[in-house]
């Protein structure tokens, strides 16, 4: 019977059917759900690793012991894991080893838009690119076969419109691995990458990619040619193929299921069979460049199709209709200019502990190096309390490098190294660890600081204070961010030191972390504005709380101050965190009554 699964679920299902025994990931949109799904299968050990490099290393270790293993991450995660990847390409694998890397064209929830296909050529390892859920499952399974047959890690490219798209497929059965379990000391020259041995493997890597190219041409079942109207042939892959097929179904197609190495003979045959070739691919001209380098004339590609942002059937149609159909693209009727409508950017949840903390930083006038996660939303006006952000945990080093500034951190991902640096090299930055006990932004995943594993089993929990002291931080303070004044005093004291310091928030559970009942700590269920006291100073608006808005209306306070409006608190949205009541100078925000 047909089932409907999301691309991520289908990858997990494919891994299970392939006989995977170990799965490791650091959550990152759009890849996060793969490991969450995989953790439901009892035959598989799964973990949230502290970062992607660790995930790849743990999974590779499992592979060397004969297990089939999978590591999953978003595109920027592979940057972190690139170090092991580039040399695992030399050592190879024993049990099949697949690394899933999910791109985010259009940057729906990412700090950059890098095209992960470049890793495959750079790393000299094969990459497969599924287009829908059925292919997600099938390609994951064949990726394990390729991995074992060619002794290589295999990259599987996801992306937002594949990983987060639901489509139909047939479920299969699990097939246990036949690879012999156990480690073999005789394999040392293949696995110890000192120069003497690595030079030997360097040759093996080139031989392997040649064999893989032949396999891509003759055996790999998911590079396919559809010769229909031969006047135009499209070369495409993944979801770009689906968009093109949707818009121009009557022409010919070469769909590449394997991004690298390319099937040279098949490409040659396609150029013989069709008159003109258009390459449709998202982001960089990866195929186009390679195909041109083979000496072929590509009629159209990135000259017409945008290289920035995601593609869609509309963009493919707009870019190519004139060339393909020799008529101009007719845009649908515009009834409203969407740019005239108020935008709706995401915001920190009502009651979130990051809100008062960032308000405190703002009031102190500090320059904040921020980090990846919900707290990046503190950049939004009027809170406007973040000033630099690049990648996970970069803020700790950034803060040290820039001088007297602040960083908060996705600390466990990569913040310990730069904190050591700040201490060792006599820095005086203040690092804030916003401990909300969960990986919140990506949808509530556990990590070594939460006290639970991916299977929700109790586990050891990082003690941030001891950890900071162990690397040599002398000044470690804890603050309750919901006490705004006290928090400001502690931060003021710590940033004025000539030593590195660490401030850890406590009582700051993520508001969405249901198991910990975060709302119970608030005394009152909601607050309201006392219109007899509100003087319309608008300070309450500065914290960007989704429950607070401004209402126009001439009036005056009980003691006669004239005003043009008041603050307003929507009690359906307010959770009673009291931060606005603390910052109101006129005691105009009071516990609400039903």
């Amino acid at each position: 019977m047909k089932k409907i699964l999301q691309g991520n679920e289908a990858v997990a299902r494919g891994a299970w059917e392939a006989g995977v025994t170990v799965g490791c990931a650091y959550p990152g949109i759009p890849s996060s759900k793969i490991m969450a799904e995989l953790s439901k299968y009892k035959e598989i050990y799964t973990e949230w690793s502290p970062n992607e490099k660790v995930a790849v290393e743990v999974a590779h270790g499992a592979s060397l012991a004969g297990g089939k293993a999978i590591a999953c991450m978003k595109h920027v995660g592979l940057n972190v894991a690139a170090d092991p990847l580039m040399t695992i390409a030399y050592t190879g694998v024993k049990g099949g080893f697949v690394i899933v890397v999910a791109d985010d064209p259009g940057q729906h929830s990412s700090q950059n838009e890098q095209d992960s296909r470049h890793w495959t050529r750079f790393g000299k390892v094969p990459m497969l690119e599924p287009a829908d859920s059925e292919e997600c499952k099938d390609f994951t399974k064949i990726a394990f076969e390729i991995s074992e047959r060619f002794d290589t890690p295999v990259l599987l490219r996801g992306e937002t419109r594949v990983s987060h798209c639901d489509s139909t497929l047939e479920l299969g059965e699990r097939k246990e691995s036949t690879v012999q379990r156990g480690l073999d000391q005789k394999e040392t020259p293949k696995l110890v990458m000192v120069p003497m041995y690595a030079r030997v493997r360097r040759v093996a890597v080139e031989e392997r990619i040649t064999k893989l190219a032949a396999y891509a041409d003759t055996e790999f079942p998911y590079n396919s040619m559809e010769i229909n109207d031969p006047s135009i042939g499209f070369i495409s892959s993944g979801v770009s193929y689906l968009y093109t097929k949707e818009v121009f179904p009557r022409y010919s197609f070469l769909k590449l299921g394997m991004v690298w190495p390319l099937p040279r003979n098949m490409i040659a045959e396609f150029f013989k069979k069709v008159k003109k070739v258009i390459v449709v691919e998202e982001l960089d001209p990866f195929f186009e460049t390679e195909i041109k380098a083979m000496g072929y004339k590509v009629w159209h590609g990135k000259d017409l199709i945008p290289a920035i942002g995601e593609l869609s059937p509309s963009i493919v149609e707009q870019s190519l209709t004139k060339a393909v159909e020799r008529k101009s693209y007719k845009a649908p009727k515009v009834r409203i200019k969407p740019e005239d409508l108020p935008r709706r950017p995401p915001n920190l949840c009502a009651g979130c502990s990051h809100r008062p903390l960032f308000y405190a930083l703002k009031k102190l006038g500090l320059y904040v190096f921020g980090d990846i996660g919900c707290y990046a939303l503190a950049v939004a006006p009027l809170l406007s309390a973040m000033h630099a952000l690049t990648c996970m945990a970069a803020c700790v080093g950034g803060a040290y490098g820039a001088g007297k500034v602040l960083g908060d951190s996705t600390f466990l991902h990569g913040g310990i190294g730069p904190l050591m640096d700040a201490v060792y090299n006599k820095g005086y930055s203040t690092t804030l660890i916003l401990d909300n006990r969960i990986t919140a932004m990506t949808g509530q995943q556990e990590h070594p600081g939460t006290g639970y594993t991916i299977q929700s089993e109790p586990a050891s929990m990082i003690d941030y204070e001891q950890l900071a002291r162990a690397v040599g931080v002398k000044h470690v303070k804890k603050v309750d961010p919901y006490k705004v004044k006290e928090t400001m005093e502690v931060i003021r004291e710590e940033v004025n030191r000539d030593d590195a310091s660490v401030i850890i928030t406590e009582n700051s559970l993520c508001i969405l972390l249901r198991r910990a009942k975060p709302l119970e700590k608030f005394k009152n269920p909601f607050y309201g504005v006392d219109t007899e006291k509100c003087r319309n100073c608008k300070v309450c608006l500065e914290i960007n709380c989704p429950a607070i808005s401004w209402q126009e209306g001439e009036g005056q306070t009980k003691d006669g101050h004239k005003r043009k409006g008041t603050g307003f608190i929507n009690k359906d949205q307010c959770v009673g965190c009291e931060v606005c009541a603390q910052i109101c100078k006129f005691e105009a925000i009071v516990p609400g009554t039903k």
């Binding site: 047909k2 089932k3 409907i4 949109i29 759009p30 729906h108 929830s109 829908d132 937002t160 419109r161 987060h164 798209c165 639901d166 489509s167 139909t168 979801v239 689906l242 968009y243 097929k245 949707e246 818009v247 179904p249 869609s312 059937p313 509309s314 149609e317 845009a331 649908p332 009727k333 515009v334 009834r335 409203i336 969407p338 409508l341 108020p342 935008r343 709706r344 950017p345 995401p346 915001n347 920190l348 949840c349 919900c374 939303l377 939004a380 009027l382 932004m441 990506t442 949808g443 969405l512 608006l541 960007n544 989704p546 607070i548 808005s549 401004w550 126009e552 409006g565 359906d572």
Partner: protein
């Protein structure tokens, strides 16, 4: 399964936390069980944080793209007035529209910097005449005891467009996707929504 070849495009829009994804999951389940090929695309991440959320759902004999072409939407289901207006250009001239009459203020409106657009209902009626249904699904859900069920109220309203489906096809999907303790509330919500659009 009727119509061969034709793919039907449904666009759902709302604000993070309103349950657009569950609503689209119910649709996917119903059309899958009815024998159609289905594809559904959504963007996660900001969904719980009050940002705008969209889901595209397509069904037909064979569906290629998970995304809908601009201007090709057959049904727009919106959980919030402004989030309906944002996608009005996407709807075909003969498209049908269901909107939950709720206004959730975006930040710039909360701050008093810009007004919430006032004439959304009028604008939809102007372009789509009798093919627009705007009703207060949230109020219906509130009466049932939980405003979170407004999404299923809208699914109930939408179900009227497919008279060939039995009511059980919808309620079975709801049962399949939700925990047992939520069945009663949501099935009620479905029926109330179904009645609301008939009346």
């Amino acid at each position: 399964m009727k119509e061969n070849g034709k793919v039907t495009n449904i666009f759902l829009s709302g604000v993070g936390g309103q349950g657009t994804i569950l609503a689209s999951n119910i649709l996917a389940e119903v059309f899958l069980k009815a024998g159609y090929d289905v594809k559904k695309s959504e963007v996660h991440g900001m969904a719980q944080r009050g940002g705008d959320v969209t889901t595209r759902f397509r069904f037909g004999k064979k569906v290629y793209s998970p995304l809908i072409k601009y201007g090709d939407v057959d049904y727009l289901i919106s959980f919030e007035m402004l989030e309906a207006a944002r996608y009005i250009n996407w709807v075909k001239p003969e498209g049908k529209i269901i909107i939950n009459k709720q206004e959730i203020l975006p930040p710039a409106v909360s701050l008093g910097q810009i007004e919430y657009p006032k004439d959304i209902e009028k604008m939809f009626k102007k372009y789509f005449k009798d093919n627009v249904w705007i009703f207060n699904g949230q109020e219906i859900a509130r009466k049932l005891g939980n405003i979170q069920a407004a999404n299923v109220v809208l699914v109930g309203a939408f179900s009227n467009f497919f008279p060939e489906f039995k009511e059980e096809q919808w309620t079975d999907a709801i049962k399949e996707l939700l925990a047992a303790k939520l069945h009663e509330l949501n099935i009620q919500a479905f029926y109330e929504g179904r009645k609301a659009l008939q009346g």
